[in-house]
Amino acid sequence: MSQERLTNQDETVSSGENSADPTSEPLVDSAIEVPGKNATSTGRTILRAQSFDVYYDDVQALQDVNIEIPEKQVTAMIGPSGCGKSTFLRSINRMNDLIDAARIEGELYFDSKDVYDEDVDPVALRRKIGMVFQHPNPFPKSIFDNVAYGLRVQDMDVDEQQVVEESLKKAALWDEVKDQLDKSALDLSGGQQQRLCIARAIAVDPEVILMDEPASALDPIATSKIEDLIDDLAEDYTVVIVTHNMQQAARISDKTAVFLTGGELVEFDDTEKIFENPEHQRVEDYITGKFG
């Protein structure tokens, strides 16, 4: 794994701005400070891709994606396997930097800043845009240390105890683990681990949470817990979620983006519209299961 770009940037982070004042990330100079996270959802665009392409070596995984993702809403990404949903998600917080072969073209704005600008530090970016993965990946540490991990790497000056408790509550896990915070996170069930990963992501108070099929490895009950949770999260955070489950997308999202084979974003609209009356025949075929 060589990540020249990230490595260089890493140095900036540890020596520069972040260590000085980690809580107010100067990632996006012009970012509008959101006063209190409980402001009603305005539908303001927080993420915007413009003619955005991604290549893995010579293979194009995303073609000319244009999308405006609204703040504090749930945006679902659906589409057949290999159509580039994960690729797009990973592009948003620059996790693609970790893949040597990945290369991007076009623009992708977080607030008003193109995240691929030279002066953007991917480490700082990921502190604003958290991620939850398909398979629960808690650290082999205690439950407490898992949730506190981000606070520690980001050197946040907060009451750990309190933030851990709040995050676990938001992730609907507190009642199940409050008496065993010292226990290894690996002793939790898969569904609990995934909620722990969500708690870990929200502990650092990001603005956006990316979720890549967060419930695909879980049973129906654990899945419905995660879905309820996502609903709650949208009060405070912008959630972008990839799912293979059409009903899930319909249930939990405000907006839905449909990617189809070839890495094309075919349609993006209100979820209701997509599922009831899509513009494109191809989208309708996909949703009704005729294709894909």
Binding site: S2, Q3, L6, L98, M131, F133, P140, L186, R200
Partner: protein
């Protein structure tokens, strides 16, 4: 299914069964030979050690408490040899463990595929150099080099030999630790990067803790190797045993010394192949065996204890 098919799968040609049985015996024989040889060596070592301890001129307690080892005067204190061994082990560990671990982190987390494909074989070559070469190198180059820093080194001295032993075991630490780190699932790294961790934080805060059992066992194996190392110390540390001088700790580094292994070589190359001097070799060998055996045991314990840490 026709009866013919049934016949085909039920009837077992007798030759095949015989051949199978033969393979079984061959493999069993090979396995037994290595076990038998090992047991035989340990048994003979123990037998001869017992013979040594029961000699009239030998005091078994004195062997473990004596601070002088002098064959010509029938002084068989193992302590100077043991402290000599410890000294070499500790100094070489101070060199090999940090450097080896850092090299492993580099190879596993930082190096590009190209850098890794050059460096790994290079480290393996380092591991393939005969240790006598390291010994001569210590004597001819390292000692004069260290003297330029003002260290008052004798021709034969503990410091250069230990430095060389340390360098010799670096590849062992780095390659085994790297295996352990590479085995840490990528999902953990992704989780940490996704939380806004830097590469350094991912390496030290996630990868190393998750790989810690493998790293520890690499340490212990490397230390066992340092304890058992013979050629470098025989060549570069002289042939006089010396009890550790607690009054002048540094002085111990400037002077020569003789660890257990080198003492055994020296005894063995003497003419007299009977009597207490010769037999003392087996008692020393037994002591050495017990020390390394305990370390290997510890290594297995540690590895087993943490094995499935990230599963």
């Amino acid at each position: 299914m026709s009866t013919e098919t049934a016949d085909e799968i039920t009837s077992r040609p007798s030759e095949r069964a015989t051949v199978e049985r033969m393979y079984r015996y061959v493999f069993f024989a090979c396995a037994s030979v290595s076990i038998a040889v090992t047991l035989g060596i340990v048994g003979l070592l123990g037998w001869n050690a017992v013979e040594f301890f029961t000699l009239p001129e030998v005091n078994p307690v004195g062997f473990f408490t004596g601070t002088e080892f002098l064959l010509s005067r029938d002084q068989f204190g193992v302590l100077p040899l043991l402290t000599g061994t410890l000294l070499v082990t500790i100094i070489s560990a101070m060199i090999a463990l940090p450097i080896g671990t850092a090299a492993a982190v580099y190879l596993s987390e930082y190096a590009s595929d190209r850098a890794r494909s050059v460096l790994k074989p290079a480290l393996e070559i380092l591991a393939g150099i005969p240790t006598v070469v390291y010994g001569i190198f210590a004597l001819v180059y390292v000692t004069p080099f260290l003297r330029t820093f003002g260290f008052p080194l004798n021709t034969f001295n503990v410091l250069s030999a230990s430095v060389m032993v340390g360098i010799m075991i670096i590849p062992m630490v780095s390659s085994l630790s790297e295996d352990a780190m590479s085995a840490v699932p990528d999902s953990l790294r992704q989780a940490a990067y996704g939380m806004g961790a830097t590469k350094f934080e991912v390496s030290t805060g996630v990868v190393i803790p998750a790989a810690i059992s493998g790293i520890f066992s690499s340490y212990i194996l490397a230390l066992s190797r340092a304890i058992g190392e013979t050629m470098i110390v025989a060549v570069a540390m002289g042939s006089r045993s010396r009890m550790f001088d607690f009054a002048n700790p540094l002085q111990n580094l400037w002077e020569g010394n003789q660890p257990m292994t080198a003492a055994m070589v020296q005894i063995n190359s003497a003419d007299n192949v009977s009597g207490p001097g010769f037999l003392s070799m087996f008692a020393i060998g037994m002591t050495l065996f017990v020390v390394t055996f305990l370390m290997n045991l510890a290594s297995n314990r540690i590895a087993a204890r943490y094995r499935e840490e990230y599963e």
